[in-house]
């Protein structure tokens, strides 16, 4: 950590004299890209890109890690897809990307083509995708089949005849008489979001499988099954909300008959405004998501660039170690407090080992 000390010293010296900021700036402008005196010998910061769902966790860890060691970690919010693209482009300064879904084969191929190898996959924790309504609204209990019937663009004509018919349902009570008579209106993440991918891949696919003919289709023509399961209604019953979940929560609070889809951490932080909806009789909570009795769960990932790019003393591996430490993502850790759901004890130990091994295999500083 000798770099860290150097960096902190530099920071302090400059921080006390704001005028030197201007001087450094002027110098850099004149040299057009020249380094200021302070930047010489300073190590590049650790750079993390990726998922906006994981951003709060990655940022919190970055802050704690920087406080402890003085190594600067820059966490960028690019979305899962954007993160993989940047990470695999081989841009030397990006050390890791976070992702709310596993890396796709096409992305792995891109990484390999650009010499980003080996890529070390770390699971950070679990996350539930929840459906929620305003606090005062009538509680609901739905299962994946109901959800699929309410939201799929085209439904099978019957359980055995999979000819697509446009979704006829207008109210929840038409699908299941025990549900409220409210109009079906669900706000959820746009197609660019990792949360949307996870939602259609878990909840919607599970609902589709409840139709025997669609289940058979999954075996014969998986591509058609996927589009049948993933295509959501476009007649205004499903509404793509933006990436800003705060706005979504305000919308739900103002319109108690509507539902929203988002990550568990947002539900956890807003229990005063919205309530989770039970899925198959199970309410989303830390417990039910950890033991996977709540049906719509996903893993949160971090992909670290290993091998010669991961210098042992650069701090990237140590940052990920901090991320996987008990104090961060273990039970009672500071990440659990802001909504990350810990992996099991054995899984956490395995992830830590994986990082340690990557660190041991890391190349020397070039």
């Amino acid at each position: 950590m000798h770099d860290a000390r150097q960096l902190v010293g530099c920071e302090k010296e400059v921080g006390l004299r704001p005028r030197s900021h201007i001087a450094a700036m002027a110098a850099a402008v004149l040299l057009s890209g020249g380094m200021s005196a302070c930047s010489d010998g300073r190590q590049e910061p650790v750079r993390i890109v990726g998922s906006s769902t994981i951003f709060p966790f990655a940022a919190k860890t970055a802050e704690t890690y920087a406080e402890r060691t003085g190594v600067v970690v820059v966490v960028e919010q690019t979305g899962s897809g954007g993160g993989h693209k940047l990470f695999c482009s081989g841009h030397a300064s990006i050390d890791a990307t976070t992702s709310s879904r596993p890396q796709k084969p096409s992305e792995a191929a891109l990484c390999a083509r650009n010499g980003v190898a080996p890529v070390i996959e770390i699971r950070l924790g679990n996350d539930g995708i929840v459906l929620a309504r305003a606090v005062g609204a009538v509680p609901m209990d739905i299962d994946p089949l109901t959800l699929y019937s309410a939201l799929a663009r085209e439904l099978p004509t019957s359980g055995l005849d999979c000819t697509p018919t446009p979704n006829p349902y207008e109210r929840w009570s038409e699908i299941d008489p025990t549900l409220p008579t409210d109009m079906i209106t669900v706000y959820g993440p746009p197609p660019t979001s990792g949360t949307r991918d996870a939602f259609v891949e878990t909840a919607m696919e599970a609902g589709a499988r409840a139709f025997p003919c669609l289940a058979a289709m999954e075996k014969d023509t998986p591509n058609i099954f996927r589009s049948r399961a993933h295509d959501l209604r476009e007649d205004g019953r499903w509404i793509d909300a933006g990436e800003n979940d705060n706005a979504l929560i305000r919308t739900l609070a103002n319109a108690p008959t509507t539902l929203g889809v988002f990550g568990f951490s947002f539900l956890d932080q807003n229990t005063d405004k919205v309530r989770g909806i039970a899925m198959g009789g199970v309410l989303p909570s830390q417990e039910t998501i950890r033991n996977k009795s709540y049906p719509v769960v996903r893993d949160l990932f971090l992909y670290l660039r290993g091998g010669s790019a991961l210098w042992a003393d650069r701090g990237a591996a140590d940052y990920v170690l901090e991320f996987t430490s008990e104090e961060a993502s273990g039970p009672g850790g500071y990440l659990e407090e802001i909504g990350l759901i810990p992996l099991s004890d054995a899984e956490r130990a395995e992830m830590r080992q994986r990082v340690e091994r990557a660190k041991a295999n890391a190349g020397p500083r070039p």
Binding site: S39, P45, V75, N244, D272, E337
Partner: protein, 429 residues
């Protein structure tokens, strides 16, 4: 209307008016009155919209400029010292103050009362743990929101974030005089943090200043130079003239290009081609210089065109060179307008978010940049990041950041107006 009455009494009126003319007059005056009403309505509407915006921002954001602090006297015993980690140690030390706290859930509840991250850091830094330790730490965002009255304690416990026990603890601290409300210096002195109670704008403010300075240093000379050349030196006739006109059309088009395109350009050129790092003010400044350039050219060009040609012509006829005529007579008269254009360009650059998205400035940065090569964010980006975060306290912080951005903008505009006034006065003397 009084004017009409005066006229109606004069005898001349009877002599020269006809009924048809009277009717036309009435129509014309009515048209004018209607236009006045439309104008007043438009002004009233824009004032109301602005007032509504400002009031909503200020009413949410004003409370973020103060913050509650808690003074705690802790004794760290050997037993607590043996705790497995810093948070646990803090929780145990706090339990001595607040009474019996044994299970994990209540420990979590307890740590939510004060800023746990600041307190753990202080505890770690404390040298001699055998002596009583006085900690002065910010209240947690939850406590702070509660004490500022943003959480209604009369709601049922499960409909608010704060628990009954936490309210009791806070009341006890308050009764002992351990809670103080102070000016929130950290909001300007601290870099960003994931804890609302210690998040600040320092990184964003310095980042924004660097970006705007770099962008202005590049775009102002080039933009104003280009405008003067196009106005007074570029060929106006023949093939050269056509080329000049085409250039002008293209510059106008450039001003209408969505700003995200400049971000994409910056990504491709500065980061991917030249290999500059992401999220640094230098790249931000370069990209926004491109964004400012057409605005400056267009505004400068318009103010140059407003100067009467006769002025240059008379200078030329008295034997001045073209250079002298332009720089001694034409440019000084156009200078106030050019200045206004430049300021609009700078203000635009200061408020720009979209191009910064592409070059990696939507980032969490916990250091204050000391050179344009250090990672930094910018004010509008910081507002975007804060307003998207989950905890309720961020809404207040984001509004406070908006207020700060508005103040900086007003400051820049103020300087511009003063400079312009002085320039104009000097010309008149």
């Amino acid at each position: 209307m009084s004017a009409t009455e005066t006229y109606s009494d004069t005898p001349i009126k009877a002599a020269i008016t006809t009924a048809a003319m009277e009717a036309r007059m009435r129509k014309r005056r009515a048209a004018e009155r209607r236009f006045r009403v439309y104008g007043q309505a438009a002004v009233a509407f824009s004032i109301a919209a602005l007032a509504w915006l400002l009031i909503s921002i200020v009413s949410t954001g004003a409370s973020a400029f103060t913050q509650h602090w808690v003074t705690l006297d802790l004794t760290v015993t050997a037993q607590t010292n043996a705790s497995p980690n810093d948070r646990r140690r803090l929780a145990d030390a706090l339990a001595d103050v607040f009474g019996e706290v044994s299970d994990e859930a209540s420990r979590r509840e307890l740590l939510q009362v004060i800023s746990a991250s600041v307190a753990t850091a202080d505890l770690r830094a404390a040298q001699n743990l055998s002596e009583p330790l006085q900690l002065i730490v910010p209240a947690s965002d939850l406590t702070d929101q509660y004490l500022k009255g943003h959480i209604d304690p009369n709601l049922p416990e499960d409909q608010r974030k704060i628990t009954n026990r936490q309210i009791e603890w806070i009341a006890a601290l308050d009764a002992e005089g351990r809670v103080h409300r102070r000016f929130n210096r950290g909001l300007f002195a601290n870099p960003d943090s994931r804890d609302p109670e210690r998040a600040g704008l320092a990184s964003a403010i310095f980042g924004s200043i660097m970006i705007v300075l770099i962008a202005s240093a590049l775009a102002l000379p080039v933009g104003i130079g280009a405008a003067i050349y196009l106005d007074s030196f570029a060929p106006q006739t023949g093939w050269g003239g056509r080329l000049t006109r085409m250039l002008e059309v293209n510059i106008n088009n450039l001003a209408a290009v969505p700003s995200i395109v400049f971000g994409l350009l910056g990504l491709a050129v500065f980061i991917n081609f030249f290999g500059l790092p992401r999220s640094i003010p230098l790249v931000g400044g370069l990209v926004l210089a491109l964004r400012m350039f057409p605005t400056i050219v267009i505004a400068s060009r318009a103010s140059l065109l407003a100067v009467p040609v006769s002025l240059t012509d008379s200078a030329l006829s008295l034997g001045a060179s073209r250079m002298q005529a332009v720089f001694n007579h034409r440019v000084p008269l156009a200078a106030p307008g050019m200045m206004t254009g430049s300021i609009i360009g700078m203000a635009q650059a200061l408020g720009e978010t979209a191009p910064l998205l592409m070059i990696g400035m939507v980032a969490f940065v916990t250091t204050v940049p000391s050179s344009p090569m250090d990672p930094a964010t910018a004010l509008p980006v910081q507002i975007f990041l804060w307003s998207g975060s989950a905890e309720a306290a961020w809404a207040e912080r984001a509004s406070a950041a908006i207020i700060s951005l508005l103040v900086v903008l007003m400051f820049i505009n103020g300087i511009a107006i003063i400079l312009r006034e002085r320039l104009q006065r000097r010309r008149k003397l």
